[in-house]
C-alpha cells in the first residue's frame, strides 16, 4: 500500500488539482462547495508535497521515478521527484494554499458572479497543477506543454477582472508569452534534432557526447531557450508584459503569478540548463556570464523602475522584475552555494511576494486606493495587513531573521566564491534599493498623518492567509532547516550532472 502511494505520489500531486479543476465547473453555482473543494485539494497537495519532501530527504538523493503509461524512460514520459522537485512542490503547495485561502468568500466581489469565480478557480487549479507538473517532469516536450498550460491559465487569471485594462494586459501577455513559447519549442526542437531524445537524462548524456560536432546548433538552442524562458520569467529587457499583467490582475492572481508562476518557468529553465546542458556546457558557452550580466542589469533596472512607481501593485510588480534578476544572477555563478541561494531565493521571494500582493489586495479592497501616496495612516487602521506587509518588506530587503537574508547570504558568498566582485556589490545595492521602494510604503502607512479613516482588516480567512505567509517569511528566516537542506541538495544534484 505504502509502496503504491509512494510510487504514484509524483503523478498524484499533478493530477489531483487538474482533475478537481475539471470537476469544479459542474458545481459552478455552489460557490461554497467550490471553495472548499479547492482548499481541500490544495491542502491535500501540501500533505502530499510534504510527504514527498520527507521521503526525498530520507532517501538521500535517490529520486522517486514514475513512468507515464508504464513506458520506461527513453520512450515514455518520465516524472522524477528529486530534491529540486520536492523543493518546488513544497513551495507550490505551500504558497498556493494560503493564496487560495485568501480568495475564500472574497472573489465574487472582485471577479463578478459565482460562475466567473468558479472559472477563476478552475484556472487557479490548472495553474497549480501545471506548476506541480513542472516540478516533477523530466521530459523536454512535457516541459513545453506544461509551460503552455501555465501560460494560458495565467493569461486567464490576468483577464479575470471585467476591466478592459485587464483584457489588454492579458492580450499583451498572451502575445509575448506565445512568442516565448514558440522560442522554447524551437529550442527544444533543436535539442531534439541533435540528440534524438526528449528525456532530459538521455538528452544530456547524448549532448555531452556530441556537442562538439554541432556547436552552432547547441548555441542556437541555448539562445532560443534563454530568450524564451526569459520572456516567460520576465528577465529584464523582456519583462515588458509583467507590470501591466501583474498589476491589473485580481490580487490573489497577482500573488500567485508573481509568487509562483514566474518561478515555475525558472525551475523549468534551471532544469533545462543544468539537467540538459550541464555545468560544463554552461561555462563552455559563456552562458554563465551572460546570465549573471542579465541578472545584474535586471536587479538594478527593476529596482529603479520600482522606485518610480506610485501605484502599489505596479511597484510590487517591478520589484518582481528585480528579484528575478537575483535568480538569474545566481544561475550564472555556477557553484553549489550560489545555486542554493538561488533556489532559496526563489522560495523566499515566492512567499514574500505573494504575501505582499495579498496585503496590497486587502488594502485596495478595503479602501479602494491604489496609490501609495493615498495610503497615509493605513497601518493604524489595518494592523494585521500592514504587519504582514512590513514583515514581507523586511524579508525582501534582506534583514536577518527574515527569509530574504539567507538567500542573499548564499548568493553573496557563492558569487564571491566564483570570484566575481561586481555581483556582490549589485546584490547589496539591490537590497538597498529594495529598501528604497518598500520602506516608503511602510513609512507612509505608519508614520504619516492620516486624512482618511476608512478601511479595516479583511475577514478571517484573509487574515489567516496573511498571517500564514508572514509566518512563512519568519520561519524561513529563523529556521530554514529542511528547506535549505533540500535546496542545497538540489544544488549539489544539479551540479553533479556532467
Amino acid at each position: 500500500m505504502t509502496a503504491t502511494i509512494i510510487s504514484n505520489l509524483p503523478v498524484f500531486v499533478v493530477i489531483a488539482p487538474l482533475f478537481v479543476a475539471f470537476v469544479l465547473s459542474t458545481f459552478a453555482r455552489r460557490i461554497r462547495l467550490v471553495e472548499s473543494l479547492v482548499i481541500a485539494v490544495l491542502a491535500l497537495g501540501v500533505l502530499g508535497a510534504g510527504y514527498l519532501a520527507s521521503l526525498v530527504l530520507m532517501q538521500n538523493g535517490i529520486p522517486i521515478t514514475y513512468s507515464m503509461g508504464g513506458w520506461p524512460a527513453p520512450w515514455g514520459i518520465e516524472l522524477v521527484a528529486g530534491s529540486l522537485s520536492a523543493f518546488f512542490l513544497l513551495l507550490v503547495s505551500g504558497v498556493s494554499l494560503p493564496v487560495a485561502l485568501f480568495t475564500v468568500a472574497n472573489m465574487t466581489h472582485e471577479v463578478g458572479g459565482s460562475v466567473r469565480t468558479t472559472r477563476f478557480y478552475v484556472l487557479y487549479l490548472l495553474l497549480a497543477g501545471a506548476l506541480a507538473g513542472m516540478a516533477v517532469t523530466n521530459d523536454l516536450f512535457n516541459v513545453f506543454v506544461l509551460v503552455e498550460v501555465a501560460t494560458l491559465s495565467c493569461c486567464g487569471l490576468v483577464s479575470a477582472c471585467k476591466h478592459p485594462r485587464a483584457a489588454e494586459a492579458a492580450f499583451n501577455y498572451l502575445i509575448l508569452a506565445t512568442l516565448g513559447s514558440a522560442l522554447i519549442l524551437g529550442g527544444i526542437g533543436f535539442l531534439y534534432i541533435i540528440t534524438g531524445h526528449l528525456n532530459m537524462g538521455f538528452a544530456s548524456m547524448e549532448l555531452c557526447r556530441i556537442w562538439q560536432d554541432y556547436p552552432h546548433v547547441v548555441w542556437i538552442a541555448g539562445g532560443f531557450l534563454l530568450v524564451g524562458f526569459g520572456v516567460k520569467s520576465a528577465l529584464f529587457p523582456l519583462h515588458v508584459w509583467l507590470p501591466d499583467a501583474h498589476s491589473t490582475a485580481p490580487s490573489p492572481a497577482s500573488a500567485i503569478l508573481s509568487g509562483l508562476a514566474v518561478k515555475g518557468y525558472m525551475i523549468c529553465f534551471i532544469k533545462v540548463l543544468y539537467n540538459v546542458f550541464g555545468a560544463t556546457l554552461i561555462q563552455e558557452f559563456a552562458l554563465d556570464r551572460i546570465l549573471s550580466l542579465l541578472g545584474m542589469v535586471a536587479i538594478i533596472a527593476g529596482s529603479l523602475f520600482a522606485v518610480a512607481q506610485d501605484e502599489l501593485k505596479r511597484r510590487l510588480a517591478f520589484s518582481t522584475v528585480a528579484q528575478v534578476g537575483y535568480v538569474f544572477l545566481g544561475l550564472g555563478q555556477v557553484n553549489v552555494c550560489s545555486l542554493t541561494g538561488t533556489l532559496f531565493h526563489i522560495a523566499s521571494h515566492a512567499v514574500i511576494k505573494s504575501g505582499l500582493f495579498l496585503a496590497a489586495g486587502a488594502i485596495i479592497a478595503a479602501t479602494g486606493k491604489t496609490r501609495i501616496s493615498e495610503m497615509a495612516g493605513i497601518g493604524g487602521r489595518m494592523p494585521i495587513t500592514m504587519a504582514a506587509f512590513t514583515i514581507g518588506s523586511l524579508g525582501m530587503v534582506g534583514i536577518p531573521l527574515f527569509s530574504g537574508f539567507i538567500g542573499k547570504w548564499h548568493l553573496l558568498s557563492g558569487s564571491l566564491t566564483a570570484g566575481s566582485t561586481l555581483a556582490p556589490l549589485v546584490i547589496v545595492i539591490g537590497s538597498v534599493l529594495a529598501a528604497a521602494y518598500l520602506f516608503p510604503i511602510i513609512r507612509t502607512a505608519y508614520f504619516e498623518q492620516a486624512q482618511a479613516t476608512d478601511g479595516q482588516d479583511p475577514g478571517a480567512p484573509q487574515r489567516i492567509a496573511l498571517i500564514l505567509l508572514a509566518a512563512g517569511v519568519v520561519i524561513l528566516g529563523v529556521a530554514p532547516g529542511p528547506f535549505l537542506e533540500l535546496a542545497s541538495r538540489a544544488a549539489v544534484e544539479l551540479l553533479a550532472i556532467k
Binding site: 502575445i175 556547436p215 552552432h216 548555441w219 530568450v227 520572456v231 529587457p237 507590470p243 558557452f285 523602475f305
Partner: protein, 650 residues
C-alpha cells in the same frame, strides 16, 4: 593624612560658606589661619629632613599621591600666609565690589587648589589641582561681570586650559618616555626614549609657562590681573603665577637639572634663560608704557617672573654649580609674593577711596593717604631692590648667579647679564613713575570718599614687617628654606658658596643704589618727554598679536565651516543632478506611451516584440561569433596606482 587635610580645610570652608548663606563670616581668614597653623605644626618634620608622603588607596591607574618636601613647604607656607594676610583686607574691600560671598568661595577653593598643587606627589594630582585652580580663580577674574572682565576671563580661561592640555601632553610624553609613573619630589627617572622625553619637557615647560606668565604666553596675565578685585589681583600676582614657577622647578627636577642625559635635557637651561630674559625685558617695557596702576603692576609681575625663570634657566645651565641661582629664584619667589601683594593692596586702597586707578588722573595723594604712602614706599623699595629690603637680597643672589654664568663666556649668558642690569633700571624707573604719579606730583581733582579703615592697613603692615625683617636678615630665608629646598631637590655642592655670600657687600649695595638712581633719572626724563605715553602700533604689542591670533582663529573656523558647507553643497548638488538625470531617464522609459520599455500599450507591443527580436538576434550573434570574449566583469582587486590595500613592503 595631614597632606590631604591641608587642602581640604579651605574646601570645607567653601562648603560651609555655601551652607551658611549670607552670614557675615570671614571664612577665608578662619580657614587660612587654621591652615597656616596646622601647616606650621604638621610640616615641621620636613625641616628635619623627612619627606612626608601619603597615597590614597585607590585601585586602577590612578591613586592620588601627596608629598611634602622642603620646596613644597616653602610654597605652602607662603600661600597660607599670603591668603591669611590678604583675607584681613578683603571684607572691607569687597564692600565696594559686592558679591563678597562668591568671591570668598572662589578664594577658598583657590587656596585649596594651590595647596593641593604644592603638596601633590605625582603629576596627575598636580594637574588635578592645577585645573581646579584655573576654574576657581576664573571666578575672580570675571568677578565684576562687565564686558572687560568677561573678555579677560576668556583670555585667562583659554590660556589656562591650553596650559592644562599642554601639561597633559607633557605627562603623556614623559610617562611614555620613562615607562614609569610621574612621581614628584623623588628626583628624576632616566628616560628610555630621550626624544619623546625632550618633547615632554618642552610641553610641560610651555604648560607651566602659561601659568607663570612666560613670554610669549603671558597675554592673559595683564588683563586678568587688572580686572579682578584687588585682593584677587594680589593673590594672582603674588601666588598663583608662582604655581607656574613651582611647576618649572619641579620640571627642572624631573629633567635631572639638565646635565645628566646630554642633549636630551641640555637645551632646557639656555631655553629657559632666553625665555626668562625676554619675559623680564618685555614685561618691564610694557610696564613702563602703562597708565593704569594695576596693569603696570601686572606687567611687573611678568617681568619679575622673568627673573625667576632666568634664575631657573641658569641653574639648569650650570647644573650643580648653579645652585646659587636656584636659591635666588626661590628666594625671589617669596619676596615677590610679599611686595607685589603689598603693592596691589596699596593700589586697592587708593581705588576704594578714589574709584580711580589711572595714574594720570591721580597725584599728590601723599597728604590724604600718609600711611598708605609709607607702606607703598617700602614695597616699592622692595621691588626695585633697594638695600635693606627683601628684594635686594634675592636680586643680588640672582645677579651673582647670572654673572657667574656670564663668566662662561657664552654670548647668551653675557647678554642675559646685561639685560638683568637693564631690567633693574627699568623696574626702578617704572616704580618711580608709579609712586610719583600717585603720591607726589600735581594734586589731582579726584573725590576722596571717607572711610579710612584700619583693616586695610593691617594686612599691608603685616606684609611690610615681613619684608623689612627679611631685608634686615637677608641670610635667614636662604639658610632655613631655600638652601635645604635646593639640596632636597638634588642640587649639591654649593653650600660653601652661600656661606661666603655677604649681602652687605659694598659692591652690590653700590650697584643697587646706582640702579635706583638711574631709574629715578630715567623716570624724570620719561615723564618730561612723554615717552611713557607712546603707544606702540597694535601689531607690535603682544595683546595686539593676541587679538590678531584670536581673530585669525575665528577666521580659520569660519573658512573651515564655509569650505565644509561648500563641499557639502557641491556633493549634494552633484547628487541631485545625478538623481535628476537618472530619474528623468527612467521616467522617460517608464511613461512613454508608444512602445518603449517599462509600460506597454497595445501598439507598444510591436516595439516590445522588436526589442525581443533584437535581443534574440544579438544573443545569436554572440553565440555565432565563436570566440567572443565578453568583457571581464571582474573588478580589479587591487588598485593599480596606489597599493594601500596591498601588503606593506616590509
Amino acid at each position: 593624612m595631614l597632606l590631604i587635610l591641608l587642602p581640604s580645610i579651605p574646601l570645607l570652608g567653601a562648603f560651609a560658606l555655601l551652607a551658611v548663606g549670607d552670614k557675615d563670616v570671614n571664612m577665608p581668614f578662619i580657614a587660612s589661619s587654621i591652615t597656616l597653623s596646622l601647616a606650621g605644626w604638621g610640616l615641621r618634620g620636613v625641616f628635619r629632613g623627612e619627606q612626608l608622603t601619603y597615597t590614597l588607596p585607590f585601585s586602577g591607574p590612578y591613586s592620588p599621591t601627596f608629598q611634602a618636601d622642603i620646596l613644597s613647604c616653602v610654597f605652602v607656607f607662603l600661600a597660607a600666609f599670603l591668603w591669611w594676610a590678604v583675607s584681613i583686607y578683603t571684607p572691607e574691600y569687597m564692600k565696594k565690589e559686592g558679591r563678597a560671598r562668591s568671591f570668598d568661595i572662589s578664594t577658598l577653593l583657590t587656596l585649596s587648589a594651590v595647596l593641593g598643587v604644592f603638596l601633590a606627589g605625582d603629576l596627575f594630582t598636580m594637574l588635578l589641582f592645577f585645573e581646579l585652580m584655573t576654574i576657581s580663580s576664573y571666578f575672580w577674574v570675571i568677578h565684576r561681570r562687565n564686558e572687560e572682565a568677561i573678555r579677560a576671563g576668556y583670555f585667562y580661561l583659554f590660556f589656562s586650559i591650553f596650559g592644562g592640555l599642554l601639561l597633559a601632553l607633557g605627562i603623556v610624553f614623559i610617562t611614555t618616555a620613562t615607562n614609569g609613573l610621574p612621581a614628584l619630589g623623588r628626583g628624576s627617572i632616566p628616560p628610555v626614549e630621550p626624544r619623546i622625553f625632550a618633547w615632554g619637557l618642552a610641553a610641560i615647560v610651555a604648560g607651566f609657562g602659561i601659568k607663570a606668565g612666560m613670554v610669549p604666553l603671558h597675554l592673559w596675565l595683564p588683563h586678568a590681573h587688572s580686572v579682578s578685585p584687588t585682593p584677587a589681583s594680589a593673590l594672582l600676582s603674588g601666588l598663583l603665577i608662582k604655581v607656574g614657577a613651582y611647576g618649572l622647578i619641579r620640571t627642572g627636577e624631573l629633567a635631572g637639572w639638565g646635565l645628566q642625559w646630554g642633549n636630551t635635557t641640555a637645551w632646557l637651561g639656555p631655553a629657559l634663560t632666553i625665555l626668562g630674559s625676554c619675559t623680564m625685558l618685555l614685561g618691564v617695557i610694557a610696564a613702563l608704557l602703562q597708565s593704569d596702576a594695576k596693569r603696570l603692576l601686572a606687567y611687573h609681575s611678568v617681568s619679575q617672573m622673568g627673573y625667576i625663570i632666568l634664575g631657573l634657566g641658569i641653574c639648569l645651565f650650570l647644573g650643580n654649580a648653579g645652585g646659587l641661582s636656584l636659591i635666588g629664584a626661590i628666594y625671589h619667589i617669596v619676596n615677590h609674593a610679599l611686595f607685589k601683594a603689598a603693592l596691589f593692596l596699596g593700589v586697592g586702597i587708593i581705588y576704594v577711596r578714589t574709584g580711580e586707578t589711572n595714574l594720570y588722573n591721580l597725584g599728590g595723594l601723599l597728604r590724604n593717604f600718609p600711611v598708605t604712602a609709607l607702606l607703598m614706599f617700602l614695597a616699592v623699595l622692595g621691588i626695585t631692590g633697594a638695600p635693606g629690603l627683601n628684594g635686594y637680597a634675592s636680586k643680588t643672589l640672582l645677579h651673582h648667579a647670572v654673572s657667574a654664568a656670564a663668566e662662561t663666556g657664552l654670548p647668551l649668558m653675557v647678554w642675559a647679564e646685561r639685560l638683568f642690569v637693564l631690567v633693574g633700571v627699568g623696574t626702578a624707573t617704572s616704580f618711580a613713575k608709579l609712586y610719583y604719579l600717585i603720591f607726589l606730583g600735581r594734586p589731582a581733582k579726584v573725590e576722596i570718599s571717607e572711610c579710612e579703615s584700619r583693616r586695610f592697613h593691617v594686612s599691608m603692615v603685616i606684609l611690610a614687617i615681613v619684608m623689612l625683617g627679611i631685608g634686615l636678615l637677608p641670610g635667614l630665608i636662604p639658610q632655613i628654606l631655600a638652601v635645604p629646598a635646593a639640596q632636597a631637590l638634588g642640587i649639591k655642592g654649593f653650600a660653601a658658596g652661600i656661606d661666603h655670600l655677604a649681602f652687605g657687600n659694598a659692591n652690590d649695595v653700590v650697584s643697587a643704589l646706582i640702579t635706583l638712581g638711574l631709574g629715578a633719572v630715567a623716570c624724570r626724563v620719561g615723564l618730561a618727554t612723554g615717552v611713557f605715553h607712546w603707544t606702540p602700533p597694535l601689531w607690535l604689542t603682544l595683546e595686539g598679536l593676541g587679538s590678531i591670533l584670536c581673530h585669525s582663529l575665528r577666521v580659520v573656523g569660519r573658512v573651515a565651516n564655509e569650505s565644509y558647507a561648500s563641499v557639502v553643497r557641491l556633493i549634494s548638488s552633484m547628487g541631485r543632478a545625478i538623481r535628476l538625470s537618472v530619474s528623468s531617464a527612467y521616467r522617460k522609459m517608464n511613461n512613454s506611451t508608444d512602445g518603449a520599455l517599462g509600460s506597454i500599450t497595445l501598439p507598444g507591443i510591436s516595439a516590445d516584440a522588436a526589442l525581443l527580436m533584437m535581443t534574440l538576434a544579438i544573443l545569436i550573434a554572440c553565440y555565432t561569433c565563436i570566440d567572443l570574449q565578453l568583457p571581464n566583469l571582474r573588478l580589479p582587486l587591487s588598485f593599480p596606482a596606489w597599493n594601500i590595500f596591498q601588503q606593506l613592503p616590509h
